[in-house]
């Protein structure tokens, strides 16, 4: 009996380890390739461990003007995005969390309808165009400013804060705005930080909006730059002058660019991970 259970455990453990290796392998391969000596990789041998050590690819990519511009644009959209998204989502979710607010149900239905039916790519493009956002950084911030999912999530965070706090503040003469900023926000700092990180990751990673709303090369974001570089095989035209390529290989430069794009995510991942399970769970149970 007990031996059968331990065989079962061993099997489960093995499957899980294999799956974890499989998910991590692609990323490991990128790091490995980007720091290895390109001349040794070129021989076409199987690579499981770094061969030599060479950061030439990183030097080349970090000297590339288009990489630097698009990196800066992505940083800008992420910072603006987090500020604007949080401001709108928090204030909307806070007001919605008040059970006594007349019309609360109407506002809930108003936002949930948009989850079930939408105008689609072209009409949304026409509205974004009509509001004058095309080819500005705001096209990457405003049209995604609210997420119904996040609003519902934040609403449940606020609902979980005891109402007695609000009541006593009201007796002291505080208005709803003061209560929101001075009492509720400080109390939900951890949740706000979690949602903020999620918004930041979303802005860092997404690129469909940049493809649709941005035509100017100087406003290109990191993900579109990277797509041109890894997908379209005309990397030389993407990168501009590549006389330095003798020092390294296209493969090394590509993987170095991928790694630099992922680096900020790797840095914030431990912080996100600390909270996200809680966030998702709350959304699932309450939403």
């Amino acid at each position: 009996m007990s031996s059968r259970i331990s065989i079962g455990n061993a099997l489960i453990g093995t499957i899980l380890i294999l799956f974890a290796i499989l998910t991590f392998l692609p990323f490991y391969y990128v790091i490995l390739t980007s720091i290895s000596d390109p001349h040794q990789i070129r021989e076409g041998e199987l690579l499981l461990w770094p061969r030599g050590f060479d950061l030439a690819a990183y030097r080349i990519i970090m000297d590339n003007e288009r990489f630097l511009t698009s990196f800066a644009n992505t940083v800008t959209r992420t910072v603006l995005g987090v500020i604007v998204n949080l401001a709108l989502q928090l204030s909307f979710a806070y007001a919605l969390s008040k059970r006594y607010l007349p019309g609360r149900k109407f506002f809930m239905v108003y936002i949930i309808i948009t989850m079930l039916f939408n105008g689609g790519i072209i009409p949304t493009y026409l509205i974004v165009r009509a509001t004058g956002l095309i080819d500005t950084i705001w096209a990457l911030v405003i049209p995604t400013a609210l997420s119904t999912w996040n609003v519902i999530l934040l609403r449940s965070f606020f609902e979980n804060i005891p109402e007695s706090l609000e009541e006593s503040a009201k007796i002291d003469g505080a208005n709803d705005f003061t209560i929101f900023v001075k009492i509720y926000l400080p109390l939900s700092l951890a949740s706000v930080a979690t949602i903020g990180l999620f918004i930041a990751v979303m802005h860092w990673n997404t690129y469909m909006d940049a493809i649709i709303y941005i035509n100017k090369p100087e406003l290109q974001v990191l993900q579109t730059f990277l797509r041109d570089m890894v997908v379209q095989l005309e990397m030389l035209s993407t990168m501009g002058d590549m006389t330095l390529l003798n020092e390294t290989s296209i493969l090394s430069v590509r993987t170095a660019a991928i790694f630099l794009t992922v680096l900020p995510i790797v840095v914030v991942y431990p912080f996100i991970q600390k909270y996200f399970v809680k966030g998702v769970t709350l959304g699932a149970v309450k939403g």
Partner: protein
Amino acid sequence: MTQHHMKTVQEIAMSRKKGIIRFCSTIWRHKFLYLLLMPGFIWYFIYKYLPMYGLIIAFKEFNFMKGIWGSPWVGLKHFEFLFSYPDFYRILKNTVLLNVYELVFSFPMPIILALLLNELKNMLFKRTIQTVVYFPHFLSWVVFGGIIIQLLSPNDGLVNQIRELFGLEPIHFMTQSAYFRPIVIISLILKETGWGAIIYLAALTTIDPEQYEAATMDGATRFQKLIYVTLPGIRNTIILLFILKIGSMLDYGFEQIYVLYNPTVYDVGDVLSTYIYRIGLQDARFSMTTAIGFFQSFVGLILIWSANRLAKRYSDVSIW
């Protein structure tokens, strides 16, 4: 009689007036809360509801000079064109097929992963596995897709290097239609399975441990406990996510496809969203592609509504 009647009219007028006053005073009492709602309310109106209104260009010949309202009506012309257009059936088939494959191969994966993780007693091991498998969710599709393309590259990709070890010819994976759908689904499974498991793990924690104890007392095996205790415990979550998935059967993620496809695999890789983008925006065929978008949204609504109805009838789960 008439006097009495007059009185009631007066009374109604009075009470209506009172009602308006009460309404205004309610708004005034909560003025700060409504003020907080305002920016979001306006945002939803402009960026969610106006595009729905913009869908009317599916029934018009859209022209930038005349705008959404001013463009001339053409009735069902674009829809008639679409339904007699082979390209439309091709992209519709591609979209539905990818979603069906996703439902069959990718949808069960997070459930299996969550059930396996749930069996683990060693918390450190469990957390390590979770940390690793959640990670790819936070990578963009450009990065993840880019890595997949690199791994499958005919010259220096890992997969073809392994093939070479066994003396096999390298395969040009990304430019052959036969490999496109498997690549899309496998990359989706690798990237999102871990993340998808979180919601099931959360549901698993709500199962009462006493149920397991009672089952053990009755002499249930591990497998029997899985079938009679664990699965019923997460049944509602499975149904809920299933309904949501059914609602998006005509919607396949643009960002994933846009990285993985290229003109050599358009025949199997082009889905509704990529087609709308390429033909609609790049070739400026706004009205025709809006008709596709309208069809997509409308069918999506019907699908989610029917799935929800079925779920309500055969279980107690409903998304609204």
